[in-house]
């Protein structure tokens, strides 16, 4: 395409347009077919990107994006005058808890699945382990409510043991554990797939050679299997670190209530509440923008560290 274009431009602009016109006429339908998709990307992906300017405005829907007053960094200053550290601390604690607890879980499970030699048993367990991934977060939270609620199975059981009512759904101390627990239940099985895929690429000759050298199973696991998926682990960790400020909001909105407000308010929940519930569009957009900037810095930073450790990383 480019070479044809260059030749055409060399011999004059008119010829280029002529060539372009005949190319388009030749495959007119292809160009027509593309229109809905291109319009979609421009409207629903690119317009919102430019819509970020409202973070620097006092956006009022009536005046529109172009007509609203420019306020510069006002909303950013406003945010740092509020009790922003509460949101940041809640976000970071929840994020690090989930990195420490949910990140290694699929790796360990994948290594264990990889050691299972009965294909039937492996297939059966995988079929069971993947189920929760397809269940919506509303159902996951609903199941949590009916099992951990005061009249639920575990709710009643805990009350019998401790003698007092254990408020699994309201107690701020238990909130993060419930969130992390839900995520482990929902995604650990599914998370194994990517590591199992990496494990199928391990050269079997390595295992044979190790056995001839007298390595036992634990040694083979440690010296062959684990190094084989090292780069996948690093890649996933880089990606995870990039989203350290993303706690997600769909799950937290469902699990949040008046009693656990002190811990359930993360940056994502804050953006949702101030922006969509309270219509403070510019303020919420500013906080969202701040979050994205930190995320980019985190990806670049962790990727650098990955390079220093001799890994390929993300790019």
């Amino acid at each position: 395409m480019s070479s044809a274009g260059q030749v055409a431009t060399k011999s004059g602009k008119g010829k280029y347009w002529h060539q372009l016109g005949s190319d388009i006429r030749k495959h007119l339908w292809l160009y027509i077919l593309m229109i809905p998709g291109i319009v979609y990307f421009l409207v629903f992906k690119y317009l919102p990107m430019f819509g970020i300017v409202i973070a620097f405005e006092n956006y009022v829907p009536f005046s529109g994006i172009l007509g609203s007053k420019w306020v510069g960094l006002y909303w950013f200053q406003f945010f740092f005058k509020s009790n922003w550290s509460l949101y940041l601390v809640n976000t970071l604690i929840l994020s690090f808890m989930s990195i420490v607890l949910t990140f290694p879980a699929p790796i360990i499970l994948a290594l264990m699945l990889n050691e299972i030699r009965s294909l039937h048993y492996k297939k059966l367990t995988q079929t069971l382990l993947y189920v929760p991934h397809f269940i919506s977060i509303v159902i996951v939270v609903s199941i949590t409510y009916v099992i951990f609620g005061a009249s639920g199975l575990i709710g009643r059981f805990a009350a019998q043991i401790t003698g007092t009512k254990v408020d699994f759904l309201g107690d701020p101390k238990l909130f993060r554990w419930m969130i992390v627990g839900q995520n482990i239940w929902k995604e650990t099985g599914w998370g194994t797939i990517i590591f199992l895929a990496a494990l199928t690429n391990v050269d079997t000759q390595l295992y044979e050679a190790a056995m001839i050298d007298g390595a036992n199973r634990a040694q083979r696991l440690w010296h062959i299997t684990l190094p084989a998926i090292r780069s996948t682990i690093v890649l996933m960790l880089v990606l995870r670190m990039g989203s350290v400020l993303d706690t997600g909001y769909e799950q937290l909105i469902l699990m949040a209530n008046a009693k656990n407000r002190s811990v359930s308010q993360t940056l994502d929940v804050f953006v949702y509440q101030s922006g969509i519930q309270n219509s403070q569009y510019s303020y919420a957009a500013a906080v969202g923008l701040l979050k994205s900037i930190v995320s980019v810095i985190m990806v670049v930073g962790t990727n650098k560290i990955a390079h220093m450790l001799g890994e390929e990383g993300l790019y």
């Binding site: 009916v146 759904l169 099985g189 969202g288």
Partner: protein
């Protein structure tokens, strides 16, 4: 020493008993430590898988139980007195049936729109000779890494396009998944060019080639991505929650939220004095609603497992 091991290795293979071959490792697995390792490993993995499905099985069993049994018996899978009371109750009002219908409507229409947009865009950009192909590809790829975020997207849909209160607000913003579209594009690129050329010779244009030659060849791919999109629509609640204004239009996930999550949350904290406070429904009724919302997913689960695992694998190997 090494020689010795190698010999044992070979004889074991001949016997066919002491050597086990599985994907990834060939080895002697009959030592005491190895057997212990296996036993513990099988147990833990088995336990993990049972724990994973246990809550679901419990909910199914409990939905058929009487309220009395739920409050008195500890853990059980099969209730003593099997009753359909909970299901009779939820199907007595048309609320659940209507929500179910709404969810089906959103899922079917949404998926058809997804497939239409995905195919019409993927097919042209699968053609290398297409003018402006590279800028368009760049545009798609950039959108995979950067987004305007929640608020600008909300303003676009609610204030600029004024789609609040319609199903368009739920369906249109996610009409194309760039990631899925790229995979479909790669599939189209893999279709032999000769097939399309012979279609041109037979007098087909690009559109008729797509409809008569390419799409019939891509039915498995379209089914896979249709399933991807459909599960997403069925499971989503957030955009319905922020864009829909009339509770009669609510999809099932949102109804579930209001009768289980909101009821419980407000029951636990009466200080909210929610004017819409509803008495939380009995346990078995909640269980039954959860079951109804999960059944469609479980019906397609065998296909989901098959195709989704493949999808992740493709992504993993490419990335």
């Amino acid at each position: 020493m090494a020689e010795d091991k190698k010999k044992r290795h070979e004889t074991a293979t001949v016997n066919g008993k002491k050597i086990a071959v599985h994907e990834g490792a060939v080895g002697v697995y009959n030592s005491r430590g190895s057997i212990m390792f296996d036993v513990i490993n099988y147990l833990i993995v088995g336990l993990a898988s049972i724990t994973t499905v246990l809550p679901l099985i419990y909910v199914i069993g409990a939905s058929f139980a009487t309220e009395f049994e739920l409050q008195t018996r500890p853990m059980f899978i099969i209730p003593h007195d099997v009753t359909l009371d909970a299901y009779k109750f939820i199907f007595a009002s048309n609320k659940l049936i209507r929500s179910f219908g709404n969810s089906v409507f959103i899922t079917v229409c949404g998926t058809l729109i997804n497939l239409f947009f995905t195919v019409t865009m993927a097919y042209p950009i699968s053609k290398k000779y297409l003018r402006f192909r590279n800028p368009i590809l760049t545009m798609v790829i950039i959108s995979m890494f950067f987004s305007g975020g929640m608020i600008p997207g909300y303003i676009l849909v609610a204030s600029i396009l004024k789609l609040r209160g319609t199903y368009w607000a739920i369906i249109l913003p996610g009409a194309i998944s760039a990631y899925n579209m790229m995979i479909v594009k790669n599939f189209f690129q893999g279709i032999p060019q000769e097939l399309e050329e012979s279609a041109y010779l037979d007098g087909c244009n690009d559109l008729t080639t797509l409809v008569r030659i390419v799409l019939p060849l891509s039915l498995p791919v379209l089914a896979t991505f249709g399933l991807f999109y459909a599960v997403g629509h069925w499971n989503s609640y957030f955009s319905a929650m922020i864009y829909l204004t009339d509770s009669k239009m609510y999809p099932l996930q949102l109804l579930l939220r209001s009768i289980i999550v909101q009821a419980e949350a407000s029951a636990g904290d009466m200080s909210l004095m929610d004017p819409n406070f509803v008495e939380p429904p009995a346990q078995s009724v909640k269980m039954a609603v959860i079951v109804v919302a999960t059944v469609p997913i479980m019906c397609v689960y065998p296909f989901l497992q098959k195709y989704f695992v493949k999808g992740v694998m493709v992504g993993a190997l490419k990335g």
